[in-house]
């Protein structure tokens, strides 16, 4: 595989051909914020937080699915990008009900951490406050659609790591929501193996362990990447 050389934020870096800009940036300790990206599963390019500017291209490009190319000049934190990211975060907070103070994932939430790190100090739009259901029909886990940002990490983790494909997305636009099996209550979804990978994959408090109280839902997201790596490298049998 050939090596390409490119510039990210004035820093000259080298990358394997085919590597994403996100990968290359992180290898070089350049932070690009993400929400839908999860190590170990495929990319959805859904959250748009990893948008970067590439010189010579008028559109903003998502770093998670844009391949590094020879001579590319990339900017990750221009004023325009910073403003876009804040706006994206504001839209997340507007669309559903994300009140951190009473959330099970308070202090362990990627959305909350990003809002803080990206300087989102207020929301300029009206909150929609939809009345979305909470499904606690599963014996061990629950889903609060009010906290879901539709990143689809649960969908991909369930399909690609566990192989159950219990989760999917139904509806369109603002009416989209994640479903279990054919939009049945989670407790009745026969494909679910109750492995809990979706819960670990979830960046917010949308998926939680039953009985969790405020700020009690800690998530071990690195475990999923470990499972994938161990499987790929056959660490179980070596």
């Amino acid at each position: 595989m050939s090596v390409v050389t490119l510039t990210i934020d004035e820093k000259i870096v080298s990358a394997q051909e085919g590597q994403t800009l996100l990968d290359v940036a992180r290898e070089n300790a350049i932070d690009i914020p993400t929400l839908c990206h999860l190590d170990g599963v495929s990319e959805a390019a859904a959250c748009r937080l990893c948008l970067v500017e590439v010189v010579g291209t008028s559109r903003l490009l998502p770093a998670c699915v844009t391949r590094a190319a020879e001579g590319m000049v990339v900017h990750t934190t221009t004023p325009k990008l910073v403003e876009y990211r804040r706006m994206i975060l504001e839209l997340f907070f507007t669309e559903r009900n994300h009140v951190c103070s009473v959330c099970v994932a308070n202090s362990a939430c990627e959305l909350q951490a990003l809002a803080a790190s990206q300087g989102m100090i207020h929301v300029r739009l009206d909150y929609l406050h939809p009345h979305l259901p909470v499904d606690t029909s599963h014996q061990q886990f629950g889903i609060d659609h009010n906290r879901c940002i539709l990143c689809t990490r649960c969908v991909r983790a369930c399909d690609e790591i566990e192989g159950a494909h219990t989760w999917d997305v139904a509806g369109r636009g603002i009416h989209s929501r994640v479903i279990t099996d054919l939009a049945q209550p989670w407790g009745e979804a026969t494909s679910c193996t109750s492995c809990g990978k979706c819960v670990q994959a979830c960046p917010t408090g949308a998926l939680f362990r039953q009985g969790s109280t405020v700020a009690e839902m800690q998530k071990d997201r690195e475990q999923l990447a470990f499972l994938v790596r161990a499987r790929k490298e056959k660490q179980w049998i070596s």
Binding site: S101, T136, Q210, G211, V214
Partner: protein, 472 residues
């Protein structure tokens, strides 16, 4: 032509409210009414949420007494799970509630009411506050602030933070008390007790000067309700729910799970505060008082040596069953004293350091009630859930609500004594407010509201015309 005086907003209480004083054709005070003008809607928007969130959600009702809600909610959750929580968890919850009672009572006495006692009802409103108190009597102010701090440190030591600690949960508590925090609290408890004893001593000296206030600030016979220990001891967390009459006779011992058989909630046309009443006597005859005054009237003893000795003198001064709402302040101090003694006892209990703190279970009851004593009085949380633990109905009966009718009686009594004609001079305004402050109302809780409470008093004529207004 009758007249109405309006006080809006009421100051140095917790929340927003106003007072209307109605005059008759002869410009004599006919009635005074206390209105809480905030709406919050917790009982509605919690519906649909998992019951396990309720301790954290309902704590947000109030920044002064979140612990009370957390405890009542956790107790309700224990019953939904149908578990008996581990003994150490109960002791730790009790410790936190004693910390809560200490800090809340200290706030009420030293920060909110002491300026009236020590600086005088007629002193300038500009300095009649905790800062004026600091300037006038540094030691008293310092002691009060440190006492409140001590109560909050207990809450922080257990729950990790002073306000809204998400620590007590259905089934028990989340974290043990770290040994070093226990040792630190033990090193502070003697100072807290001494401060309280000094405050009691000073208040007793002042009582002789307040003979008029004792008679006028809400002295009337009423029913009283509180938890009491099975052996008659002062109780704040569990025990028997008892209603007594004005002479001290037990009317009924209520099973908390069936409180609704005895307690009704009247909706007022002019306030977001609901007014509970004792059903057998109906509304408004069934009005009852809760809080320190009620707890000290109902218990036989405090259960700690120093507080017991003070209780004897309190009853001598108050005449057995105490009817004067002015004695709420006195009762509050005795409760702090009792709390400091009990805190020391608990901190020295080796069981407290156990790591068995939380019972795990799934939903086993679909309806439950949790009752505990908040600083201001008996607090009820009542939840109905579906089979998956999602709330289908929430009812909370808050201490301040239960004191709503007695607060109206109190300000009516004060207004009749002091309001002459169609104006409200400032010192009279302050006395009316002080009548409310005696109850230490928490309006954020009672309307399930936030912020500070300014005061508006309106004087209203018989034809409904507002003839005078006094506002902070």
């Amino acid at each position: 032509m009758s007249t109405r005086i309006v006080i809006d907003p009421v100051t140095r209480i917790e929340g927003h409210a106003k007072i209307s004083i109605f005059l008759d054709e002869a410009d004599q005070v006919k009635e005074a009414r206390f209105h809480v003008v905030e709406f919050r809607g917790f009982e509605r928007f919690c519906v649909g949420r998992p019951f396990t969130e309720m301790a954290g959600l309902s704590a947000r009702v109030c920044g002064i007494c979140p612990v009370s809600h957390i405890l009542a909610s956790s107790k309700t959750g224990d019953r939904l799970l149908a578990v008996t929580i581990p003994p150490a968890a109960e002791k730790l919850r009790r410790l936190m509630n004693l910390g809560q009672i200490t800090q809340s009572h200290a706030l009420s006495f030293f920060h909110l009411s002491a300026p009236d006692f020590l600086l005088g009802w007629e002193s300038s409103p500009a300095t009649r506050n905790v800062f004026g108190l600091i300037a006038a009597n540094k030691e008293v102010a310092r002691g009060g602030i440190r006492l409140r701090q001590f109560g909050q440190e207990i809450i922080e030591a257990l729950g990790g933070r002073k306000i809204h600690p998400a620590w007590s949960v259905p089934g028990g508590v989340r974290e043990p008390l770290p040994t070093e925090r226990r040792d630190y609290l033990l090193s502070r408890v003697d100072e807290a007790r001494t401060t309280t004893q000094q405050a009691i001593s000073a208040f007793k000296d002042l009582l002789d000067r307040f003979s008029e206030e004792i008679e006028v600030f809400g002295k009337f016979p009423s029913l009283f309700l509180s938890l009491v220990g099975r052996d008659g001891e002062w109780e704040h967390y569990d025990g028997i729910l008892r209603m007594i009459d004005a002479e001290g006779n037990t009317l009924v011992d209520i099973d908390p799970q069936r409180y609704f058989d005895y307690l009704g909630e009247h909706i007022e046309h002019d306030s977001f505060l609901k007014s509970p009443y004792y059903k057998p006597l109906g509304y408004p005859q069934g009005a009852y008082r809760v809080g320190p005054l009620a707890r000290l009237n109902i218990c036989q003893r405090m259960g700690t040596p120093l507080a017991d000795a003070e209780l004897v003198e309190y009853r001598q001064r108050g005449g057995g069953i105490v009817h004067s709402s002015f004695f709420f302040h006195y009762a509050r101090l005795i409760e702090i004293l009792c709390a400091t003694e009990r805190i020391k006892r608990l901190l020295e209990d080796p069981d407290l350091m156990s790591n068995r703190l939380r019972a795990q279970a799934s939903i086993n009851n679909l309806e439950a009630v949790g009752v505990s004593e908040a600083p201001r009085g008996t607090l009820f949380h009542h939840y109905c859930v579906d089979e998956n633990g999602l709330l289908t109905r929430v009812n909370m009966i808050i201490a301040t609500g239960q004191n709503a009718l007695p607060m109206n009686s109190t300000i009516t009594q004060i207004a009749r004594r002091y309001v002459q004609g169609r104006t409200i001079p400032e010192p009279i305004l302050n006395r009316i407010e002080a009548g409310i402050r005696a109850f230490d109302p928490c309006l954020s809780c009672s309307t399930h509201a936030a912020g500070q409470m300014p005061l508006l008093v309106q004087l209203i004529a018989a034809d409904g015309q507002v003839v005078d207004e006094a506002r902070r």
